[in-house]
Amino acid sequence: MIDVRELTIHYGEFAAVDHLSFSVHPGSIFGLIGPNGAGKTSAIKAIATLLEPTYGEILVQGISALNQAEKARGFLGYMPDFPPVYEDLKIWEFCDLFAQAYGLSGELKKAKVLQALHATGLQDHMHTLCRTLSRGMHQRALLAKTLVHQPSVLLLDEPAANLDPKSRIDLRNILKSLALEGKTILLSSHVLSEIEDTCDTLGFMREGKMVLSGTLDEISQARQKQNSLKIRLTKPFPTLQKIISSIPALSQFEDFGGNGKEVRACIDGGEMVASEVLAQLVEAGVPVSGFAIEKPRVEDLFLELESRPARKGDQP
């Protein structure tokens, strides 16, 4: 569990993080999103006890990360942005070093190292020198090192940066399985699709403030973002726009395919309303071949927030 309250970090007069408050619960993956300079890395470093905040409180598993940093560190696994490795060590030696540094020894240490290597898919490369690793393998080695002492809280700053699609999918699966084990995971990323696929809770940061946070549905509701309905036709239907306008649950008709066969409209409601709309369309003789509800995307929310001027106390 991570509990951040009123966290403020100043660099001189510049507030990199400004009264930031949020919580991440066990089994949850919290994604921090924001443009460069939003304060994501500063916030993660402060939670990792590596940066002294100006004031505020950070609790990791109920322990103050500011006043009892040494104790809190035992619960934390931290993977920084641009993570380095000890290049002259083999992957297993790299993990072994940290296993021992976290107090593991003997057979238990061996078992935990192997477990971390298995979890990250590195068991076949454990004797490879870190200097020869590809970027994806490098990232996995780092994750293995982060997991080796089985921390209950994971802080991952841009973990998928520069990874190929396959490695991203692997990483996503690893993180999801860790969340299922009850770990608390906080990650920051610029890759919005990755955040959307991996995280169950999101936090949008801007100019040091958390401008929006919650699950995607909660955020959508808070931003009055509607689901959209994507309709595919077998052939163009001339009165389609008129029919759609007559259905109260639908609005904002858009012919996104440009040929009258693929259209989109906003729908006020969920799956129940959508099934009723489908029935109405079929009844009106519209030749529907495809029909799907699209939830609002993180990318749209991000772009919307980015385009709005910052406001004081901008919270949902």
């Binding site: 403020t8 100043h10 660099y11 001189g12 007069e13 990792a48 006890t49 590596l50 940066l51 002294e52 100006t54 004031y55 940093a69 040494e70 560190r73 035992g74 934390l76 931290y78 920084p80 641009f82 993570p83 380095p84 490795v85 000890y86 002259d88 060590l89 030696e93 072994d96 070093l97 940290f98 021992q100 540094a101 976290y102 107090g103 090192k145």
Partner: protein
């Protein structure tokens, strides 16, 4: 085993590297050792002493081994002190820059265990190269019939020095933000701490000589390194004599003991700094209480070292030679009294005392007084917490009280030594006028408070720019004026040089020295320039403090 030491062994001593480093060390040591051994072994037997009646070469392995000892020690020093120190400074700084140090910082190992891991893990290969030299050392001790106990003394001090150099490099790597800057600062610190400062031992500050292994080498080993049947030369005798006993207050200590005490104190200070930086990188190297404790220790050591000189004129090294010179043999300028050399020595000692103190104050103010960022952070924190003021010993607290205490800690020993010299019947005369204590004391106080005000309102560039401009530029201008017309510009040079503490302090000491300048034949009038220096220090203090106060209000 400490995981960081194990990491060092794994990284730097894999089979191939182990063999390569071992062979390199073996070849190098064998070359140096055997060359020195065979050269020292040869003894020319003159014809009249030779049983065959012709000049012959005899071979004495005892002499060979003694001759080879010093090159072997130098080589061992090269491996551990030169290569090892460089390795630790550069790797620590690189790991700090890359973020690897943060991984270690987050592990639950104690900061002390982390420091030891870095000190003994990073130079694993250098330690291995040292181990390869040990059979040669064993041969040297046995064949050269060197006293085992003295060798033990030397190597105990040798390892203490190695630890000191390595810890200096590690702490500098932790403190200095950029790797390239760290390697330069480490080199400068090693040069300053272990070469420049020990040289001040010749000027009466004897404790500074004990930062290296030289005292133990000269005092304990050198007398045993001469070829059988030969005697020490004049230089060797003087060196051995200088390093025999260390006068401290009214007692004498052995050089090994004193070296351990000195190095132990520095090790303690470095460990404390390392501990703080391992805990949290953003903490200053010293807290205010640590800074005060360190400065008090320095002043205690200065007091103890200078006590014999101020009480009865006892001094060793160059200072001792100057004091004991026969006035008839000294060619002093006509403007000085014919028997002025003890007074001149006193001026040198007093100036060294003040310059060392002010140098230490400058470093401590730079570390312990908050820069504008830290000051602001403190203000923001107390506003949030609803406290009326920042506790004065906190890192963010203004350094006014801290700086005043530092200045007092320097002034008190000086006053004590001064009064000691006045009350004793020493061969070294000193002014009994109260102004000879008050003037330098107030200058030191104003100078320290000005430095503190500068530190708290400017960042590094501004602060060091101010110090450089004020302390060095007047000296450079004097240099140009001196080249142009030394005698014609002498008064102007004195005024200019009174603006820099580095040149004003000796001026002040000369001015207050009663038996130095011949009043009938003065070269220059110091009273005007001393006034200039004192007024400038007061103006600087008032101006900078007012500016700081104004910025605080804002």
């Amino acid at each position: 085993m400490n995981p960081l030491i194990r990491r060092g062994i794994r990284e730097r001593l894999r089979a191939k590297k182990l063999v390569a480093a071992g062979i390199f060390s073996l070849i190098l040591t064998a070359t140096f050792y055997l060359a020195a051994f065979f050269d020292g072994m040869q003894v020319v037997v003159p014809a009249k002493e030779s049983p065959t009646g012709v000049t012959e070469l005899a071979f004495n392995p005892v002499n060979g081994a003694r001759e080879a000892f010093t090159p072997l020690l130098v080589l061992q020093g090269f491996f551990l002190m030169f290569l090892g120190t460089g390795r630790i400074a550069s790797v620590t700084a690189e790991e700090k820059e890359s973020g690897l140090l943060d991984y270690q910082r987050m592990t639950p190992m104690t900061p002390l265990a982390k420091i030891f891991g870095y000190l003994f893990g990073l130079p694993a290969r250098e330690y291995w190269m040292f181990v390869v030299t040990l059979p040669f050392l064993l041969h040297c001790v046995v064949a050269g019939k060197l006293p085992f106990w003295n060798i033990l003394h030397l190597y105990a001090v040798f390892f203490c020095s190695v630890l000191l150099y390595h810890l200096t490099a590690h702490v500098i790597g932790l403190v200095v933000p950029r790797p390239r800057a760290a390697s330069w600062v480490a080199r400068l610190a090693v040069l300053g701490l272990y070469i420049f400062l020990p040289a001040l031992g010749q000027a009466g500050i004897s404790f500074l000589s004990f930062l290296t292994i030289l005292p133990t080498y000269f005092g304990k080993i050198l007398p045993h390194l001469f070829a059988e049947g030969t005697q020490m030369g004049r230089f060797e005798s003087q060196a051995v004599q200088f390093w025999q006993e260390v006068p401290f207050f009214s007692i004498s200590l052995s050089p090994t003991t004193f070296t351990f005490v000195m190095q132990g104190l520095i090790l303690l200070a470095l460990f404390l700094t390392g501990y703080r930086k391992w805990r949290l990188d953003s903490l200053p190297a010293f807290s205010k209480p640590m800074g005060l404790g360190l400065f008090a220790t320095l002043q205690f050591l200065l007091l103890g070292s200078l006590w014999p000189f101020f009480s009865d004129g006892q001094a060793s090294g160059l200072l001792g030679s100057v004091v004991q010179l026969d006035p008839a043999q000294v060619g002093l300028p006509s403007q000085l009294k014919s028997d002025a050399h003890p007074a001149l020595a006193m001026v040198v000692v007093q100036s060294t005392f003040f310059l060392l103190s002010i140098g230490a104050i400058l470093i401590l103010i730079n570390i312990c007084c908050p820069n504008p960022h830290r000051r602001l952070k403190g203000i923001q924190r107390i506003q949030k917490l609803g406290l009326p003021t920042i506790p004065w010993l906190a890192d963010e607290a203004p350094g006014g009280v801290f700086t005043t205490l530092l200045a007092l800690l320097a002034i008190l020993p000086y006053a004590l030594l001064h009064l000691l010299a006045v009350s004793s019947e020493s061969i070294v005369s000193i002014s009994s006028s109260p102004s000879s204590i008050i003037a330098p004391a107030s200058f030191l106080l104003f100078c320290a408070l000005s430095l503190r005000a500068a530190r708290e309102q400017w960042f590094n560039l501004g602060f060091w720019g101010f110090v450089g401009l004020l302390w060095l530029t007047p000296m450079l201008a004097c240099l140009v004026l001196a080249v142009n017309d030394f005698l014609g510009n002498s008064q102007l040079m004195l005024h200019l040089s009174s603006l820099s503490p580095l040149t004003f302090i000796p001026q002040l000491m000369v001015y207050h020295s009663p038996n130095l300048v011949d009043p009938a034949n003065p070269l220059v009038d110091l009273s005007a320039s001393v006034r200039t220096g004192m007024v400038a220090s007061i103006i600087g203090f008032v101006f900078l403090t007012f500016k700081l106060w104004k910025s605080s209000i804002k």
